[in-house]
């Protein structure tokens, strides 16, 4: 635990906007910043009141030269995100200036923050709850603006609220069951099983919606997992490069932000595509061939979307035919490349073999590329990214817990159908509530008793 240390990190989502933020929190945050900051209007940063902005320069003490023109935000504990002193250095420069500033801070005694450490401090210091903490992790990793919006909305608790509503309703059902059990010798009617069934159905529906939203959530925060497959020399790398040329959004190299491997993200009309196995694609066509069909099989299995590529200027062969049988048609867009070579004529490749209408493109001339992009966007999200007004699950752990909750609700419904005892039904409903509580960090018993005493007139 490094609670007494002052930590620093570049906290701008990579590639987003012209202004970068280098952030520092901990007992020495203001002091360290003060040592490097030359205020334009004079004065001392160490004496600055909380929540004030200061214009000036960050100066390298070794050379005395200005590194960048900056605005420093001074925020004093405890009314800050981490409940500790925070200094935020808003700089103009790109990654280079940001890195330079960060390294100066480290030289002065700050420690490089591990991923999510700001948030962990905020969480540990009681500033934010579990769901919020996890969605901050999403903000950190959000790759596109839409992803950021989801994360922000979640920060504001829309997911928490939706889960709380489901949980409240389940607590109502549990309270009816438990009141009938624990106050059996009082004037409490047994639970109305039809009514309970109806309420559980509703909540199962809401849980399913939340779970389904996890796909959107993942797309927004991680991108659509996309595989480009095809036999060697059909132009996979060229297609990748053609797609990347203008749309290249972010190539992350932020160590430890979310994942270890370097990935390509292409932003296609607001839909982020995350390319699987780009290493294989980028290195060489040979690499893909070396790894063989197994490798593309795995890529296909993991993909949300498959771009299946053929060379239109050549006749199909057994490899092509095998590939057509391998890819899942419902997740695949068939692309026939090298249209520049057969412009206006019929391609040598027999299009009739494909189970769906292909897009004809030329990676070289960019012909057909916008049609392909439109198709990709349409295929993934009906053409547009939904506004995250409704809660969206963006975290794998939440999704898993929601699935557990749903499974428990479904077991309860099954139990109602076969007529299991109230104590078993209660067991299942309780399991669902416990799973939801693991998302929101609440426990069952006190809330349950509150609900019972509110709903029922107990008392002998």
């Amino acid at each position: 635990m490094r609670a007494n240390e002052t930590i620093a990190a570049i906290s701008t989502p990579f590639g987003a906007g012209a202004i970068g933020i280098v952030r520092m929190t901990g007992p020495r945050a203001l002091d360290i910043c003060h040592r490097l900051f030359r205020p334009a209007g004079g004065g001392d940063l160490a004496d600055a009141p909380s929540h004030t902005l200061h214009y000036g320069h960050i100066v390298d003490p070794a050379t005395g030269e200005s590194v960048d023109e900056v605005l420093v935000a001074v925020m004093r504990a405890p009314a800050t995100y981490t409940r500790e002193d925070i200094a935020e250095i808003n700089c103009h420069g790109g990654p280079v200036a940001q890195r330079k500033i960060l390294s100066l801070l480290l030289d002065e005694g700050a420690v490089l923050a591990s991923p999510g450490e700001f948030t962990r401090r905020a969480f540990v210091n009681g500033r934010i709850d579990l769901v919020q903490a996890e969605s901050v992790a999403q903000v950190v990793s959000a790759r596109t603006e839409a992803g950021l919006r989801v994360a922000m909305a979640q920060l504001e608790g829309s997911l928490s609220r939706e889960i709380a509503a489901v949980r409240r309703s389940l607590l109502g059902v549990l309270a009816s069951l438990e009141a009938g059990i624990d106050f059996a010798d009082e004037d409490i009617d047994d639970v109305d099983r039809d009514d309970a069934g109806k309420r559980l159905q509703e909540q199962a529906g809401r849980l399913r919606e939340l779970i389904d939203s996890a796909f959107v959530g993942r797309v927004l925060s991680e991108g659509v997992r996309t595989a480009i497959v095809g036999k060697p020399n059909v132009g996979k790398s060229s297609l990748l490069n053609a797609l990347l040329m203008r749309e290249r959004a972010i190539v992350t190299e932020m160590p430890g932000t979310t994942r270890d491997t370097i990935e390509e993200i292409i932003n296609i009309e607001g839909v982020p595509l995350r390319l699987i196995d780009t290493a294989g694609l980028r290195n060489s066509e040979d690499a893909a061939e070396r790894a063989g069909i197994d490798r593309s099989r795995r890529a296909i299995r993991e993909a949300d979307l498959v771009l299946c590529l053929f060379d239109g200027s050549e006749r199909e062969d057994d490899h092509d035919r095998a590939l057509i049988n391998t890819v899942p048609a419902e997740r695949t867009i068939f692309v026939v490349n090298k249209s520049d070579l057969f412009r206006g004529r019929r391609p040598s490749f027999n299009l009739g073999l494909l189970p769906a209408e292909p897009v004809l493109v030329s990676a070289l001339t960019r012909q057909g590329l916008s049609e392909l992009k439109g198709l990709i966007a349409g295929r993934v999200l009906g053409g547009e990214i939904p506004a995250p007004a409704s809660p969206v699950v963006t975290h794998e752990r939440h999704k898993r817990l929601l699935e557990e909750a749903l499974a428990a609700v479904e077991r309860t419904l099954q139990g109602l159908r076969v007529g299991l005892g109230d104590e078993i039904l209660a067991e299942e409903v309780r399991a669902a509530i416990v799973s939801l509580g693991e998302i929101t960090g609440e426990e069952v018993v006190e809330d349950l008793l509150d609900t019972i005493f509110r709903q029922f007139c107990i008392g002998k």
């Binding site: 609670a3 009681g126 009938g180 299991l420 426990e443």
Partner: protein, 629 residues
């Protein structure tokens, strides 16, 4: 009062209070082998039931059953003293079924007193405790109100509602521990002086009316079970004559009387300040909180066989007596009822239970144990359950033995005490089965299987009684093995039976176990249909348990897996002197909460309200690093 010489030499254990907690504590300590004194303000009030004339109920009945399994007295004594026995929740599953007995109060007291008097190492003494004698943060004895001192190596305080007790009826307030008995105010002050933090609770009881003055024709009769079961596994089942209870309902007229006089209710006048139980509201409160209900039930329960008093369960109130009479008489069947004792509220001090260890010993005062209502609980069963644990630990302390505690997955008693010491109380604590996360494991039917081996080790259960449990268990094991292999053929009789309980017929041989896992399929009729001679060879209790074990097996396995998963957390011990305040990574609130409860394990820490999963991971990290402070 001058202390008799026989008492001035001192005892191993002194128990203060002769209620349900005090009796169990004293019996447990004496039976384990300690010279034990039970000090009570009045020997006429041993095991008194100042509130309802009943033992058991859902949640509470399981506690009584566990007390019996541990070698305690409440179950046996109830079996000797009941006037009606009823198994509750028979329409629901066996995990939540529980016995409730209506008792003859006087009989219960007399029977318990006889048991106490027969216990070789137990001595009874009438006297008022006024304080504890402490030497070097360790209990050395008890002071009486005349200044005399009884030395003791361990003390159990079980003084119920007597600490600065005040009774409230209408506008009247007067000091009393129970109606007609003086409170114990000096003891409160003394405990505060020793640094024990006190809170204030309130509890209330309904009026009692004369049985000759009510009209039972207007009520529903509740006769009790035709073949009553018993609390104790050990006492020979003696059948007793069952006395009926009655049920009537208040109506709009009753409610109107209450509403008319609400300005006189302590709720409105503010003459009661302590927090009362939500599960046991006064009729005034019910009328206020549930204005849409046009009736509330009133259960009419005899207080005994040699008295005419009837307890009006559901009409709890501390309105002025003249209003109480109007309320009672507005209720059908009670039009000419004569009140024999009015209802009243009692307000009293309790010690915040987060100051206790799981043994019920005060954390900062060695050898002082608190049990019963003094810990903020309510109910005879909750009190007795704490009494037996405090008594066992006081005795084990004297004998230099390890502490004895029960886990949440072992017993309702474990749930009760863990809740008290970990979460504290903000209303008088009553047991509900919904408090137990392992409810399907903690059943009425298996209490002895869970706890009697421990009681035998502790020395509370003699060989003969323990032998009965062992025989029962091995018979159960045999039966389960047999059901696992016995093949039921698809005979017409079997399929007729299966279809009669809504289950599908079988076309090839299936094990009995597999069929019994189906909902609604019962052992006895299945065995009969299949021609298995199980009924002849296994007693009903064993057959019933086998059926339950099989019916719940899937859920039981799940709960066991959960227990297993959590056991790692339960096994990480936090050292006694661990300084939670020194972990600056924890929020100040969490440090505060942890320092207050001082949990013994990471598992316990995780159950403190307000302590987050993040706190727990930080705490674990520190412990793994062997606490750097």
């Amino acid at each position: 009062m001058i202390l008799p010489a026989s008492s001035s030499h001192g005892f191993d254990v002194v128990v203060v209070g002769g209620g349900h907690a005090g009796c169990e504590a004293a019996l447990a300590a004496a039976r384990i082998g300690c010279d034990t004194l039970l000090l009570t303000m009045s020997l006429e009030k041993i095991a008194l039931m100042p509130c309802n004339p009943a033992v058991g109920g859902v949640g509470k009945g399981q506690l009584t059953r566990e007390i019996d399994a541990l070698g305690g007295e409440q179950g046996r004594n109830t079996d000797r003293s009941y006037i009606q026995m009823k198994m509750l929740n028979t329409g629901k599953g066996p995990a939540v079924q529980a016995l409730r007995a209506q008792t003859s109060k006087k009989l219960y007291e007399d029977n318990m007193k006889r048991v106490l008097a027969a216990e070789p190492r137990l001595y009874l003494l009438e006297g008022n405790a006024a304080g504890i004698d402490v030497s070097r943060e360790t209990i050395a004895g008890v002071f009486l109100d005349d200044g005399s001192r009884i030395p003791a190596r361990a003390v159990v305080l079980a003084c119920g509602t007597f600490l600065r007790g005040v009774i409230v009826i209408g506008e009247q307030r007067f000091p009393a521990g129970r109606m007609g008995e003086p409170p114990s105010s000096r003891l409160s002050e003394n405990l505060e002086r020793w640094g024990i933090e006190l809170g204030r609770f309130q509890s209330a009881t309904p009026p009692r009316v004369d049985a000759r003055s009510i009209d039972t024709d207007k009520m529903t009769v509740d006769p009790g079970d035709p073949s009553p079961q018993h609390f104790s596994f050990f006492s020979a089942a003696t059948r007793r004559k069952q006395v009926p209870c009655y049920l009537t309902y208040t109506n709009e007229k009753t409610h109107e009387v209450i509403r008319e006089h609400l300005h006189l209710s302590p709720i409105r006048t503010g003459s009661v300040s302590g927090k009362g139980p939500r599960y046991c509201p006064s009729i005034d409160r019910k009328v206020i909180n549930f204005p849409d209900r046009d009736r509330h039930p009133v259960f009419i329960e005899p207080e005994g066989i040699r008295t005419r008093e009837l307890y009006l369960q559901g009409l709890t109130t501390s309105l002025p007596v003249w209003v109480q009479e109007k309320v009672v008489r507005a209720t059908p069947g009670l039009e000419s009822a004569r009140i024999m004792r009015p209802g009243y509220a009692v307000e009293y001090d309790f010690a915040l239970p987060s100051q206790l260890r799981p043994t019920l010993e005060v954390r900062d005062l060695s050898c002082l144990f608190l049990a019963g209502q003094i810990n903020g609980t309510s109910g005879y069963e909750e009190a007795a359950a704490q009494g037996i644990i405090a008594g066992i630990n006081a005795a084990r302390h004297c004998l230099g033995q390890e502490p004895f505690t029960l886990r949440r997955d072992q017993a309702y008693i474990g749930v009760l005490i863990d809740d008290l010491v970990t979460k504290g109380v903000d209303e008088p604590y009553r047991m509900f089965t919904s408090r137990a996360e392992y409810r399907l494991l903690l059943r009425h039917d298996n209490a002895h299987s869970r706890l009697s081996p421990l009681a035998h080790q502790v020395g509370l259960l003699d060989d003969a009684d323990y032998e009965k449990v062992v025989r029962h268990e091995s018979s159960l094991k045999d039966l389960l093995a047999e059901l696992g292999t016995a093949r039921v053929q698809p005979s017409p009789a079997v399929n007729d039976y299966l279809e009669s309980c809504g289950s599908s017929a079988i076309s090839s041989a299936v094990t009995a176990e597999k069929l019994l896992r189906r909902p609604h399929v019962s052992l006895d009729p299945l065995a009969r249909a299949a021609g298995l001679d199980i009924e002849e060879r296994f007693v009903p209790d064993v057959r019933r348990r086998a059926e339950i074990e099989l019916k719940y097996s899937g859920y039981i396995e799940r709960q066991r897996a959960d227990i297993e998963r959590r056991s790692r957390m339960e096994s990480i011990v936090i050292p006694e002197d661990f300084d939670f305040g020194a972990i600056s990574a924890l929020s100040i609130e969490s440090r505060d909460r942890l320092s207050r409860v001082r949990p013994a394990t990471i598992g316990q820490a995780s159950r403190i309200s307000g302590v987050t999963p993040a706190d727990i991971s930080i705490l674990s990290l520190y412990l793994e690093r062997k606490a750097p402070h």
